[in-house]
Structures are given as C-alpha cells and as structure tokens.
C-alpha cells in the first residue's frame, strides 16, 4: 500500500445524525398522511439500512397502500424505496439529490453497525434488541451483493497494528465527568454511547493474532480480521439500477415543513432525511457528529487495510480511504460539530503515521 500525502484526490466531510434514542422508526399522522420515520442512524446508516428499511416498510405496508413516497435519497431512503418496491409498491422518491450527492456518500463505507447509533441511556434497554434485528437483517442482505461484478459489497483483510499487546477496550464511565446528555444536551464521554457489537459476534469474523513470523509490519503486535465494506459507486449504481428498473420515480423536491408532505399525492410517506430531519422535523435530539475521510486512487493490488491508534487506511474498490480518529476521544470525536468543511492536516498525519508501519523501505519518502 502506498500512502503519500501528495497523492490525495479527495477529502470529504460529513455529519453523522446521532439521535440520542437511536434511529426514529415511529409512525405519525400529518394531516391525512401516514408518515413512517426512518432517520437518525448516526455512523451506522449504511450498515443498518436494510434492517431499518424492513421495519419502516413493514409499518407502511400495514395500511395496505398501493404506492408510497420516500422523502430523502441517502442510503436509508434508497433502501427503503427498494424494499417497498420488492413488496410490490409503486414508489416515488422526493429529495434534493440522488445518493451520490447526499451525506451518505461522504461516509467511509465500512460495516460499522453500532457506530454512534444511540446513547445508551436515552435509547433504553430495549434498543439492543431492535438494533440486533436491524444488524442481522442487514448483514444477510449484504451477503446477497457479494461476488457480483464490480464488487458492490466486499470483504478484505484488516490488520490492527500496535506496539503494546492489544487490550480489550475499556468503556467504564469516568466518575470525574459529571455532565452528560441529560444535563447538557450532548454526550460527554464514550461510556454514554451504546456499544452493541458484541451482540452479533457469532456472525462477524473474529480477529486472530498474527505470530511474529507472519507479521510483515513495523509493529510488535498485529491482529488480522475480515472486514466488510461498501464500494460506493458500484453499490449505489446497483441500488439505483434496481430502483429505476422497478419503475421507481425520482422528483427533485425541497421540503420546508412537515406540513408540505400533505401536498404529495401519496398517502403513505417514509421519511428518511437523515441529518436534515433535525431541521425539517425540528428533531433536536439529533446530535451532529462530524467525520472526515481522505481518498487515494484505488490500489487493487493492495487488497488489505491497516489501522493503528484509531487511524486507518482501508483499501476499497473506490480508493484507499484514510481516517484519523483520535484514539483518546473515541466516540466523542466530532460530537456537536456541524462544520462540514474538510481539513487535510489530520488526514496527512494519519498517512505519515501509518506509512511508518509499512515496511520501512516503502515508507521512506513519507517518514523521512
């Protein structure tokens, strides 16, 4: 893998819609329209999309419509639309943009089903079951995209590198931090976030420790795991192709208030506007969590990923995606920050740091 700051072709920034109680899948009436919500998936929208769509479309189907409207065309809106079509419904998507210009497309594209998906307190104990249902359903659906031309969904080897033996991450609450979401409107430490990945340990490949002989990296301790990722162009094209080939209709439309939904001809509406729901639905429980990625041209010959100290370089079909997520801040990085302008320095820092983990001969130009 070649990591060199002068080879960056893109830096993207977006806001994860962390909703304190977890994704909103409630149903409500606006005038005589039935609105089924499907928004607020934090950093887990791609990963939970199918399972979430299954729940939302199920609620829509319960009133026996022939057609539904979907508002929003990020990954959650688009999968909701397709699930509705697969159930035999006529679907029109109303949105400002198709998926390539939505916030969804500015994610990293890794299967991260419990990344900033809820705060444990506001979500309550029952949220784990709902999350697990969505995660398991989505996992099976992603398997239906494996091995297809263009690799819309794929697996790769991922190497976790460190100087010290890897310890299980501690998420104990820090008693010195007394503020929390309830008192201040924002989470104040990692322990407030819902961490649910253990619930699907039986289907997600475990990591294995590499022996010294197997370890090609400049790191004393290495773990290898298989990790699932989404190649945005191939996957988005597959989804859009299915949507339009099933006679789906797209209407460019901007909504200013929930009331405007009553202007639509469809009586049943799936509302999937992600972060935009904070304004459109005045849902102030949505907390912006900023994140950003850098991109290098695809290096299909380097079909693996490395991560170290919460910095990562993931080789995907649509490029090497670089992230620099501060290990001390963890889930708290970007919380409350709705700035959507990318900054290059942390990405370049991650590249320099990770390059030193690769064979020294390959990283000389960066570490010099």
């Amino acid at each position: 893998m070649r990591l060199s700051p002068d080879q960056l072709i893109d830096v993207k920034c977006c806001i994860r819609p962390l909703r304190a109680a977890g994704p909103n899948l409630d149903v409500e009436h606006v005038g005589d329209r039935l609105v089924v919500h499907n928004y607020g998936h934090g950093g887990s929208g791609w990963s939970l999309s199918w399972g979430s769509a299954e729940i939302a479309v199920g609620k829509a189907l319960s009133v026996l419509p022939e057609r539904v409207a979907v508002v929003g065309c990020g990954i959650v809106g688009l999968t909701s639309a397709i699930m509705a079509q697969r159930a035999g419904l006529q679907v029109t998507i109303y949105a400002k943009e198709l998926i390539p210009r939505t916030r969804s497309f500015r994610a990293s594209g890794s299967f991260t089903p419990s990344s900033r998906v809820a705060l444990a307190g506001p979500a309550g104990p029952q949220f784990g079951d709902r999350w697990e249902q969505m995660a398991r359903f989505s996992w099976k659906m992603f398997r239906t995209y494996l091995g297809l031309p263009g690799a819309p969904v794929d697996f790769g080897d991922s190497y976790g590198l460190s100087d010290a033996p890897v310890e299980p991450r501690s998420r104990a609450a820090d008693p010195a931090i007394t503020d929390n979401y309830e008192t201040s409107g924002l989470p104040r430490q990692n322990a407030e976030f819902a961490h649910l990945d253990d619930r699907i340990r039986d289907i997600v490949p475990r990591s294995v420790v590499l022996s010294r002989e197997e370890n090609p990296f400049a790191a004393a301790h290495v773990q290898r795991s298989s990790h699932m990722f989404f190649n945005f162009p191939a996957y988005a094209n597959a989804l859009l192709d299915e949507f339009f080939s099933r006679s789906g209709r797209f209407v460019m439309r901007n909504f200013n208030s929930p009331r405007e939904l009553t202007e639509l001809p469809e009586k049943v509406i799936i509302h999937a506007t992600g972060y935009a729901a904070r304004d459109l639905w005045q849902d102030r429980t949505i907390i912006p969590v900023r994140g950003q990625t850098g991109w290098l041209v695809p290096q299909p010959e380097a079909n693996y990923s490395i991560r170290s100290g919460n910095m990562s370089a993931i080789s995907k079909g649509d490029g090497i995606v670089l992230m620099n997520n501060n290990p001390d801040l963890g889930d708290m990085l970007g919380v409350g920050d709705s700035t959507e302008i990318p900054t290059r320095a942390p990405i370049e820092g991650a590249m320099a740091s990770l390059a030193r983990r690769l064979a020294p001969a390959l990283s000389q130009d960066v570490s010099a």
Binding site: K96, R101, R103, M252, N254, N256, D279, T339, E340
Partner: protein, 142 residues
C-alpha cells in the same frame, strides 16, 4: 341565473369577505422587493459567513448546494419567508441561528439579486410575517 340567486351569491361573497377580511395582495420578487444597498450589505455578509462553504460565486460543490440555478427550482414559487425562515433556523450550518434578522434579510436580498430579481426602492423587511406576503417568483424566460 335568476336575479334572486345572484343576490344570494353576492350576499355569500360579501359575508365571506367580511369573515376573512380584505385579501392582502402578495408582492412579487419580480417587482423590486429589496434595495441595491441592502443587497450590497448582503454580499459582505455572504463573503464572511457563507462563501466558505457555498463558494465565492455561489457555485456550491458536489456536496454543498449552489445558491443559484437549481437553488431557484428549490425556493421559487413560494414565499420569500420560507427561505428567510430556513436561513434563520439552519444557517450557517456550523452556527445555526447566529445571524441577526436584519443580516438575514440582507442575505436574502443578495440571493434574490444573484438570481435575477430586480432591486427596488423599498428594503426587504426583516419580518417573518411580512415576508410571507412576498413571493419568490422566477424571472420570466428571455
């Protein structure tokens, strides 16, 4: 129609008018609803608060909406108040709600001018109710 029926229709119309009050005429952005000075002030605010994301030429990016062209399709044929309210609630995105009403009106004036609406003698009011009665109309095609 008989004369009697006509009278009934007239009476009903009068009664309706009485209940609703005289209709308030909407003004159109095509008729000069802001002043040039106001739009100039808006341009300064735009440069300081908006251009970092939306671009100096209002061109936007793949990810951030342009404030001309497609912008008209999103915001025209509805009251200017909708745009004013949206900016007041949601912009600038890193610090929503941080613009004063006067500055917001100046920005809207600037955006109207940038999208072909002519200036006039009267300033655009920084008042939500008044802005509800001003329509953002498209410029007639050439």
């Amino acid at each position: 129609m008989t004369r009697g029926r006509l009278l009934i229709v007239a009476a009903v119309a009068a009664a309706t008018a009485l209940t609703v009050g005289p209709p308030v005429a909407s003004r159109s952005s095509a008729r000069g609803v802001y002043t040039g000075a106001q739009a100039d002030q808006g341009a300064t605010i735009y440069a300081a608060r908006c251009a970092m994301c939306h671009g100096r030429q209002l061109e936007g990016t793949v990810e951030i909406p342009a404030l001309s062209g497609k912008f008209v399709a999103n915001w025209a044929s509805r009251p200017v108040g909708d745009l004013f309210d949206y900016i007041a609630r949601a912009m600038p995105q890193p610090a929503p709600g941080s613009l004063s009403s006067d500055d917001n009106a100046r920005l809207v004036a600037f955006l109207l001018r940038a999208n072909g609406a002519p200036a006039g003698n009267q300033a655009l009011p920084a008042d939500r109710q008044a802005l509800r009665r001003i329509d953002f109309d498209t410029v007639p095609p050439l």
